[in-house]
């Protein structure tokens, strides 16, 4: 309980400092492009439904992408870590693709899958998948040989070795991969939502920009920040549940 109160206190303190800093910048620059926190929040509260719909559309896209990415990337990462043959075959391809900023593939996906939701979600899958696949592979690589010997000593089947050794060992790495890729995927979604979108927080920000409605634009930016915060906090909570033995979990 005490811990909880201190946690909430820290969050509130952080938020207030952020607003103060923002206010100071407004005062110092005194230009219309940067509205004050008060103006922005007033604008956000004026049409909350609209903002929630836009943010919700973005969150749904990210969630869908995460779900599909996990379904593909975890097995692929396990194979990459556990199967020499698969590794030799796939590694060069992975290393070639990995350093390319994935947003660069957006035009390709739009040509292949149209301008709608599918291409946006596939772009994010493309981003998240590689990160998670590599994290999971590194996770498998980092399992001490001794642990496999222990399982062998207990005459574990390969399914049991996955269940009791490989999967739990990989879980914290998977969370690390998710944490990295959520940041990148939000950034990329912002770009992707420029095209053929009616709902999405990226679209909301850019259309406010073209309308030169700066409080609205900042409201969007603030919301994007909140969405990110929500996703990260959600991920933290999930990790605490799933990996109680790690420092993050405890």
């Amino acid at each position: 309980m005490k811990k909880m109160r201190r946690f909430v206190g820290a969050q509130v303190f952080g938020f207030i400092s952020f607003l103060l800093l923002w206010q100071l910048i407004c005062l110092a620059l005194d230009i219309r492009v940067i509205p004050t926190p008060a103006e922005t929040i007033k604008q956000m509260l004026a049409e909350p439904r609209e903002l929630v719909l836009h943010a919700g559309a973005s969150v749904l896209r990210v969630m869908a992408a995460i779900a599909v990415s996990l379904a593909i990337a975890v097995p692929a990462g396990l194979l990459l870590g556990g199967n020499k043959w698969f590794r030799t075959l796939v590694s060069p391809f992975v290393y070639f693709i990995y350093p390319i900023p994935k947003v660069a593939f957006l035009p390709v996906f739009m040509l292949l899958f149209g301008l709608g939701n599918v291409s946006k979600i596939i772009l994010m899958i493309w981003i998240i998948m590689f990160q998670i696949m590599l994290s999971v592979r590194d996770g498998v690589d980092s399992i001490p040989g001794l642990y496999f010997q222990v399982m062998k000593g207990f005459r574990a089947s390969s399914w049991q070795t996955y269940r009791y050794l490989v999967l739990p060992a990989v879980l914290p790495h998977m969370f690390t991969g998710l944490r990295i890729s959520i940041g990148i995927s939000l950034a990329s979604l912002f770009f992707a939502e420029n095209y053929a979108t009616t709902y999405g927080i990226g679209y909301y920000i850019l259309s406010a920009w073209t309308k030169m409605n700066y409080p609205e634009m900042f409201g969007g930016i603030l919301t994007l920040g909140l969405v990110g915060l929500l996703l990260f906090k959600g991920l933290d909570a999930l990790q605490r549940k799933c990996t109680p033995w790690t420092a993050k979990g405890r």
């Binding site: 207990f154 005459r155 060992a169 033995w245």
Partner: protein
């Protein structure tokens, strides 16, 4: 078959090379059922290698190796190997770790029965207070006991231990030694353990094997020592001195 006469463990003309280096050549040894063997010898002579061979983790290049009358190929049901680095998994609580071998073996499938058996053994080894703790939250002695519990839960008839107390302080060491002795005697299991500790060898070993480079084994019964073999015995240290003299003479 000469079942009654056959030794529990028999190594005949065993040879093995590791990384191009000959470790043993023409090694012979016999272990009787229910007896406790201390394996001593200089660092690097191959004590761990011998344990790994008998455990079925390594395959000899030549010769034959049987345990319980059966040739060893891979880990045998009934042989439990406690390695020096323990190999407790960071993601398993003590109770989970100790229950795992039962789940792996598949003989006991009832969750309640597994929980009961685990709780019973934890209580026996003084671990009931830390059943829900992760290895990182345990002291060295608790960790050692947890790993010991994990090797004992499957009721093995053959215990292999590589320096089971080498990382412990003097007091904890004694408690673990007593625990090992008590469990081995109670279960009538055969014990083969590696140690660098003369006192431990005299205390826990019925027979002491002295291993020399190349695989030469000499043995002595501790009962034949002039002094006692129990720590309470004032002449315990005479036996230790005798062992030391024997080691130095060879």
């Amino acid at each position: 078959m000469r079942v009654g006469m056959a030794p529990f463990v028999e190594l005949t003309e065993i040879g093995i090379r590791l990384g191009g280096k000959e470790i043993f050549a023409g090694m012979n040894a016999r272990l009787e059922r229910g007896v406790s063997y201390a394996l001593i010898g200089k660092s690097g002579v191959g004590k761990s290698t011998l344990l790994n061979l008998i455990a079925g983790y390594l395959t000899p290049g030549s010769g034959s190796l049987t345990v319980g009358g059966e040739p060893v190929n891979g880990p045998r049901r009934g042989t439990a190997f406690l390695q020096q680095e323990l190999g407790l998994f960071p993601w398993q609580t003590v109770a989970e770790a100790v229950g795992m071998p039962l789940r792996l073996a598949g003989g006991v499938t009832d969750k309640k029965e597994i929980a009961n058996k685990t709780a019973g053994l934890l209580a026996e080894l003084g671990l009931e207070g830390v059943a829900g703790s992760y290895p990182a939250q345990l002291s060295g002695g608790q960790r050692q006991r947890a790993a010991l519990a994990r090797t004992l839960i499957g009721e093995p008839d053959f215990l292999l231990m590589d320096e089971p107390t080498s990382s412990l302080d003097a007091v904890t060491k004694e408690s673990i030694q007593l625990l090992v002795q008590e469990q081995q005697r109670k279960r009538g299991a055969t014990l083969l353990f590696v140690t660098h500790d003369i006192e431990e060898a005299v205390l826990l070993g019925d027979v002491i094997f002295l291993l020399e480079a190349g695989g030469g084994l000499s043995s002595r019964k501790t009962a034949d020592f002039e002094g006692g073999t129990a720590r309470e015995d004032i002449r315990f240290y005479e036996s230790c001195i005798e062992l030391r003299q024997w080691m130095n003479a060879l």
